[in-house]
Structure formats: C-alpha cells, structure tokens
Amino acid sequence: MKTIVFIGTNKSGSSREAIKAAERLGFFIVLLTDRKIFIENRLDFPDVHQMVLMELTNFDLLKENISKIQEQGKIIVAVLSFIDPFVHVAAKLWEKLGLTIVSSDPLLKMENKILTRELLKDLPVSPYFSKFKKDESMHTFIDNQVGRYPLIVKTPDSTGSKDVMLVKNEQQLVRSINNFLRKGAIEVLIEEYLDGPQYLIEVCVFNGKVYIVAVLEQEIEFFERFIVTGYCLLMDIEDAFHKEICETVSNILERFSFKNGSCHLEMRRINQQWKLIEINPRISGGAMNRIVELGFGINLVEETIKINLGQEPNFERKYSKFVYAHYITIEETGTLIKVTGRNRCFKFPGIEEVYIKPKKGKLLHPPLSMGDRYGYVLASSTNKEDAIRYAKEAAKEISFYLEPI
C-alpha cells in the first residue's frame, strides 16, 4: 500500500488541501498530528486514512512512529509537511528512509530567518540586518542601531506575523528584544524596515529548474502587527518584470542549493531593487492553493507532491484570471455568537468562495497574527480592479455578532 505520511496539518487551507490532493492521487494517507481536537472530530477528516496523535517536536518519536507504520506493511513513498516548522523535519525523516529527492538542509535554512539572512548577506536582495544574542551586551547592540530606525524585530522562527514587531526608537527596540527574550528566544533578528509594494512569489523547483508559478501583490495593514489583508493574483506580468523576478529568485535559490521542492518568497521592490522580506520552504498557507487554482487552473499542492515523488510537475495554465482574496479581520473583542451575510456575498459578480473560519463560542479579537484573520472572500475577473472591488464590496456583507467579554 503506497503511503504518504503527513506531519501536521491545519483544519483548512493549503496544508489540508495537500492531504486531499494526495488522497485523490490514490495514496494511503497517514497523518501524524499533535492536535487532540482532530482525533475528537475524526469524521471531519475523511481524506485521512490513519490518524496518529503524538508529540511532533520529538524527532525520535517521529522516527519510531514511521517505523511502526512500515511494520504495518505500508510502503512509505513520501513524508511531507506543509506547515511550519515541520517542513524540514519531514524531509529529514524522509532522508533517513533514503528515499527523498528533497534535501532537508535548504529547508532548515529557509525556516530559520537568521540562517537565511546570513546565507544571503552579500546579495543585493539582502537588507541591513543584525542579530542579538541573549548573553550579548544590550547597550552596545542598541548603540550600533543609531540612525537605522524604524527597524523590524523578529525571532528566527517567526511565522504568520506572530513574532514580528515594528520599532521606531531605542526604547521600543529594547522593549521588543526583552519581550522576545522573556518568551524564551535565544537570538533575536533585527532588520531594516523596507517600505514599498510587496509581492508574494510562489515558486517550484524540479531538478534545478525554477518555475515562477504565481506572482501576487499583497495588501498589508498595520494593526499591532503587520497583517496581510489582501492578495491579488496577477494574471499577466510584463516580460521584463517577470525576467527580473526570475533572475532574483534563481539567485536566491542557488544560494540555498534548492534543487527540488516548493517555496514562497515575500519581496519588496524599492528603487527598482528587489529586497527579500522572507522565504519559506512551502506554499503559502490559507487560501493560496485555491487562489492559484481559481486563477490558473493549477493545483499547486498537487504539483508539489509530484515533485516530491520525483515526477515532472505540470504548470501549464488552463486559463488566466485575476483573483483577489480579501481577508476579514475585526476591530472588536468578544465571543462569537453568529456570522451573517455569507450568502449575500454571492449576489456580487465574480465571487468564487466565501470562507468563515471561527466557530460559535470562539473568542475573537483584533489581529495579532495572520491566524487572527477570520475569513476571506475570493473574487475573480479578467480585470484586476474588478476582482478587487467585487471581493471588498462582498466582504462588507459579512457581519460578526460578538458578545463582549
């Protein structure tokens, strides 16, 4: 029985769609998860054939469970993960089985923001950065940042804006660093704040060939953190622009010796120069797989699975449309009573999908990370402005009823 083992998943979004795609491809699916609620709601996962509840941060335990699965007679053809921080762990496990064409080393470097910065430090895409170590003199470190504000402060393993802070002066910098150290960080990364249009680039690499699968413009709002509230899939981009992106991405991936797999890069264009915000060794989470599928007819997670199995991916577009994903956040805090307006959204033209994440009884609050976006509206059109307008107008129909706490 050809089996794919997945390490961790979210209830919905790209990681879950990867499981569905693997099941469609005819594999036996084993999910190793540390979320008890998934086992409790086992019927929500009909695409998972075997679910194992375990501690995912224990590598030896993971190895042990993989061996048990093999002893059951299952032939493991891949160990995959589409969520942080298990992408490189999955590749490492797979390496132990001696099967993979994906190397875990580049993935580890991509997952760690400091390792990424150090690897790319002499490339033009690299902004100013500095790392603060726990036992270092704070005074000297702060002195070295004079004249460089505003700065971004983050932990090496930050994801989804969770541990990313904007600081405008010395006091805020000290406070942020201390805050991260208190939470257990050993190293803190300080980066130049880059202001300019931000793009997200979905990339796949097969046998060293780089495929720029999708380029999206990001709309970012600053609440207490930077939150991406809109993604616009670009239907077509100018040749020169595409060439620039391709060259920049290829140079970066060459440094990582990234030969097979998928990743996404967030980059800003400042004075005709591309600057890397961050790179992650997987497709973006949330609605990304749906966005690319609606816009180009490409199931990115399915093609990623094929790459991992050593099969040639197919990135030929079946059609081309602009797709805009408008994410919903709220400004108030309270317990969710009900959500209205979902059906009304479909009265607008071009609406493809409306997704509301939280269930009744969940405590909702203004966003502190990307995980605090409570739904999205996807709209498509052959006109960029129309796609954006449809999604934003439709999203206004959604109302969250909250009981104050």
Partner: protein, 144 residues
C-alpha cells in the same frame, strides 16, 4: 383531589415560595453598595403552571415594540404569603427582535408590564442566567 395530591401541591408551593424568597432577597441585597456588581440586580426565572405543567405565559405591552408581547420570563417585584408580583421580561434575539415563547432568547429586557400570580397556581420554578438581562452585542461589519 385526594389527600396525597393535596400534600404534593402544598410541598410544591412551599418549595417555590422559598426559592422566590431567596431570589427576592438576593435582588434586594444587590442594591446595597457592598454588593453592587457582585450580586445580580435581576434574577430571571420561569414559573411552571400546576394546571398544565408548562411554563406560565403572560402578555404585556412593550413601548419599544409598540405592540403586545408574550413572555415566560419574569422578575420578582414583591412576594406575599399567597401571591407573587412579577415584572414581565421582554425576550429578544441577538439582533434585538422580539422572540415569542418558547424560543430561546439572546437577551431579556425589563418592561413596565406587571402581573400578580397566586402561588397556588405554581408547581415549579427554573432560574435563568442573569447574564441574559440587558445582554450586550457587538456587531462587527456592515450592519454595525
């Protein structure tokens, strides 16, 4: 009615009376500065009719509705040995629309409508979470 039924009826009335008395005293204490914000000023409840064994329903007029309404939710105003004076609480849904019994309301609102019920007609009482009284809602989105 035989002797056993009469005894049961007397027991019911006795129980209901003692619960109503506790509610009334708690509500009264809630107005003392020492208990402000600690004890609920209104403890809503449902009373059960001895005739039908179903909740007692009373009708009143709510100025906010500009029409009559029915409710099975009450607030105690006064208690005597034989009867209870009740305020009718207006049940509504999360959007503030009147919810007719037996629907479960999101919110209960005090009104000026009052009724007097003889304790002999009551066989049971069910207290309701005081948080339902004037329960607030935040609407995040277009319909704000």
């Amino acid at each position: 009615m035989n002797e056993e039924q009469n005894k049961m009826k007397a027991d019911c009335v006795c129980d209901v009376y003692s619960i109503l008395k506790t509610i009334y005293e708690t509500q009264s204490k809630a107005n003392l500065s020492i208990f402000k914000g600690v004890l609920p000023e209104t403890i809503p409840f449902i009373l059960y009719s001895i005739e039908t064994m179903n909740p007692c329903i009373a009708s009143g007029i709510a100025p906010s509705l500009q029409s009559s309404f029915s409710t099975s939710f009450f607030r105690i105003e006064k208690l005597t040995n034989s009867s209870v004076y009740l305020m009718l609480l207006l049940p509504s849904d999360v959007e503030g629309n009147y919810k007719e019994p037996p629907s479960i309301p999101y919110r209960l609102k005090k009104t000026n409508s009052k009724v007097i019920i003889s304790l002999k007609n009551i066989c049971g009482i069910q207290c309701i979470n005081p948080k339902l009284v004037n329960r607030q809602v935040i609407i995040s989105g277009k319909e704000k």
